[in-house]
């Protein structure tokens, strides 16, 4: 972003042009690159989603062939999860955590650069796999064996891409942990830290605990594919279901990796625009930690139809249901923060409020999925697709937009257009629900997921979802306009860009200078 070009270089012979971005050790540069990268990935994953929706607009095969459809579904999931949502949050962490805790940079600035620059190679491997013989992997983003063992070369590329993204995530997580634990300004005790830092700290622990497990899982798939091992092959004494256990031991914490930082962002914004301190700060911290800990004990709720023994089903059902309690604490705290505040609804607050509203719907459908007998009916149907888009799109993605509108003034020095921001919100909100709400009905009525064609009774809701998806996609173009305008100019932002905003990041000028807090601030 042009507005954050270095203003004082401290005698560095800092390279300019492309080299600046390739070699930078500055957390703001790196944060910016993460965000730009993730947005490009979001558009790529979105184009895949639109192709899926185009095929599903009507019954029958019109746009793509089944094998390619499966590739699109798989890659849409992988690209959105690993390419769009996760890196976007890491970008926020890079930009904001040092500013929030009063640190001069991330603890390992050079490694930070590597964490970012591993992502483009991973993306090249992943997206490039569309163009190799046999095409991309079509085993679903969950890559279940033994279907994934049947795939062609695209599967190997995906495996290596996952390895590389895993290395990137682990380094990024370690960087964040160390930064939060070791780089806080004097007086910035843990229990004074902005909630965003807390949620990211806990997320980082989830990352280092589960990314290696995913790496192990796909490594075993690789070995089964090429080296004759039998991890997931009953004939050799293995078990295909074992893959699912290992995958979901990663996979469930993974979905919280994509939502805890979102909770953090929303917990910054709601108090700012309620002009009132966050209700129940301590309980927010404990709730976040509880969600993280519980997330290791619920993985098999994705496997109720595999035929687990009843005891297993019951254990995982109860554990999963429990997560509603700490999550509920969060929702209640947000509402209590708004209660008797002095609310105003600039774009960040609109998005944050929208987040709470729609995310909670996704949470409730999650809870319904958690009831094992009901899940037997809805597993692998569009009901699940609806559930996770409510938490991922209306949850993670909406929170990212909320955060972007909130901190754009700090990043660019200009206020984002309020009118366009509101338009973006309302279009997104309306089209989001047109797209994904009917999917609940489809799933309940019996439409399986991951199919390129469907029975006639599902036609009308599918048409509706497809129209909504295109509308939702077009609405995202508004965001591009907002950001470009904001970088180019507009109303100058004050250091404290929103009157209710609290925290160290609002004590430095907007845009934040290239180097901040080289002398640590003292927090009372």
């Amino acid at each position: 972003m042009a507005a954050v070009i270095p203003d004082h270089l401290h005698g560095h012979h800092a390279p300019g042009g492309v080299m600046r971005w390739l070699t930078t050790t500055n957390h703001k540069d790196i944060g910016t690159m993460y965000m730009v990268f993730s947005f490009i990935m979001f558009l790529s994953g979105g184009v895949m989603a639109l192709t899926i929706r185009a095929e599903l607009f009507q019954p029958g095969l019109q746009v793509v062939q089944p094998e390619f459809f499966n590739q699109l579904t798989t890659m849409h999931g992988l690209v959105m999860v690993f390419g769009a949502i996760m890196p976007a949050f890491v970008g926020f962490a890079n930009w904001m955590i040092p500013l929030m805790i009063g640190a001069s940079d991330m603890a390992f600035a050079r490694m930070n650069n590597w964490s970012f620059w591993l992502l483009p190679p991973a993306a090249i491997l992943l997206i490039g796999s569309f163009f190799v013989p046999g095409g991309a992997t079509a085993a679903g983003w969950t890559l279940y064996a033994p279907l994934s063992v049947q795939m062609g070369m695209g599967m190997d590329l995906a495996i290596f891409a996952i390895h590389i993204m895993g290395v990137s995530s682990i380094m990024g997580a370690i960087n964040i942990i160390v930064t939060v634990l070791n780089m806080r300004a004097p007086g910035m005790t843990m229990m004074k830290m902005p909630l965003f830092c807390w949620t990211w700290l806990i997320t980082a622990y989830l990352l280092i605990a589960v990314m290696p497990v995913l790496a192990g899982a796909v490594t075993m798939v690789l070995a089964d594919r090429h080296f004759g091992t039998s991890f997931f092959n009953a004939a050799g004494g293995g078990d295909p279901v074992m893959y699912q256990h290992i995958f979901w031991f990663f996979g469930h914490p993974e979905v919280y990796i994509m939502i805890l930082p979102a909770f953090g962002i929303v917990s910054q914004i709601i108090p700012a625009f309620s002009r009132k301190p966050l209700f129940g700060y301590a309980s927010m911290v404990y709730a976040t930690a509880s969600i993280a800990i519980l997330s290791f004990a619920v993985w098999a709720h994705h496997m109720f139809a595999t035929g687990m023994p009843a005891a297993g089903q019951l254990f995982f059902m109860y554990a999963t249901m429990l997560i509603a309690v700490p999550t509920g604490v969060k929702v209640f705290n947000w509402v209590a923060t708004m209660w008797r505040g002095a609310l105003s609804f600039e774009p960040p607050m609109l998005w944050a409020t929208g987040f709470i509203f729609v995310f909670t719907m996704g949470g409730f459908t999650g809870l319904i999925c958690a009831i094992a007998p009901i899940d037997i009916q809805v597993q692998d149907t569009y009901y699940v697709v609806a559930h996770f888009h409510y938490v991922l799109v209306a949850g993670s993605l909406f929170s990212l937009f909320a955060g972007a509108y909130y901190w754009l003034p700090k990043w660019t020095g200009h206020m984002p257009s309020e009118a366009l921001g509101k338009l973006h919100f309302w279009c997104s909100m309306v089209f989001f629900n047109i797209t994904f709400f009917p999917m609940h009905f489809l799933g309940l009525a019996g439409m399986p997921r991951r199919i390129p064609d469907y029975a006639l009774q599902f036609a009308d809701f599918n048409a509706m979802a497809s129209v909504g998806a295109f509308g939702f996609g077009l609405s995202q173009l508004i965001f591009i306009v907002v950001v470009v305008k904001c970088i180019r100019g507009g109303e100058r932002a004050a250091a404290r860009s929103w009157d209710g905003a609290e925290g160290l990041e609002w004590t430095v000028p907007s845009p934040a200078p290239y180097h901040t807090f080289e002398e640590a601030p003292v927090v009372r």
Binding site: Y144, P146, V149, A235, L278, L343, T360, L444, A455
Partner: protein, 267 residues
């Protein structure tokens, strides 16, 4: 024939599906009530505690009593939800004392049925999609049961406990009949089981519910529930055909473990 479900789960045809339906309704109502409660409060604040309406922010940020309440009450609600669910889970797992046992084997991309025990023992056939290709590709108008019709449906008698054993020959499939509340993954190299007892006659349709490759969307499950007499007649007919060497369909190939064993390493 089932009326198509539109907004909700399909019309239940077994006791288990009935329980699931009721549980879903209960959950939906509870969640809706909580939703209305929570967001009623939020929207009250959104409309009335606005700065533009002159609201001045209060300063409270803690209240232990409230916080304990909204931790404990959800736990109680969850307990209330868990109770019926537990009973149903246990009932679903009880596959003992079946009247008829059928083995269903998932193949890429069709089902093989094998009557193992009870009336009809020994009958075996394959069941594949019957929708013609040109309906799918748009060359012909789509029929009523588009994508949900097979050449040889599974036939079972009404009111009898049918135990279904599941396995697969290549990758994981999943055998699903929504109206029965049965969905069970078919895992290569393992046998899993499930059961149903259909309360009324009719044709019930479902799909393979686990991504299994190219034609995952094209391997429906169709079950015909018939009266005891019709079932007996069907069995007799199948037996006669088998004796004459012209079974209704080619018999299901063995679920050959050898083929699974050959799979690893063949990247």
């Amino acid at each position: 024939e089932q009326p198509h479900a539109r907004y909700n789960l399909q019309q239940p045809v077994t006791g288990i599906a009935e329980q699931i339906n009721d549980m879903h309704t209960l959950m939906l109502v509870i969640c809706l009530l909580i939703f209305v409660g929570v967001f009623g409060v939020m929207f009250w604040a959104v409309f009335n505690h606005r700065k533009s309406k002159g609201a001045v922010a209060a300063h409270f940020h803690e209240n232990t009593a409230v916080e304990i309440a909204w931790t404990v009450i959800p736990v109680l609600i969850l307990l209330g939800m868990a109770w019926p669910a537990t009973k149903t889970v246990i009932a679903m797992k009880d596959t003992s004392n079946p009247d008829i046992t059928v083995k269903a084997t998932g193949y890429q991309w069709k089902w093989g049925y094998d009557y193992l025990q009870g009336e009809g023992e020994g009958i075996r056939f394959l069941s594949a999609l019957a929708t013609p290709r040109d309906q799918i590709e748009g060359g012909a108008p789509k029929g009523d049961a588009y994508l949900l019709e097979v050449d040889n449906p599974l036939v079972v008698p009404v009111g009898k406990k049918i135990r279904v054993l599941l396995t697969a020959n290549d990758v994981i499939h999943s055998w699903w009949v929504p109206a029965f509340g049965v969905k069970q993954d078919a895992i290569p190299g393992f046998i899993r089981d499930s059961w149903f007892r259909a309360d009324r006659e009719g044709t019930f349709r479902g799909n393979c519910a686990e991504l299994c490759g190219r034609d995952h969307g094209f391997m429906p499950v169709v079950v015909q529930v018939v009266s005891a007499e019709k079932y007996a007649a069907w069995v007799a007919e199948q037996k006669a055909r088998a004796a004459a060497g012209t079974p209704a369909a080619a018999p299901a190939a063995e679920a050959e473990p050898a083929r699974i064993a050959a799979a690893p390493g063949e990247g």
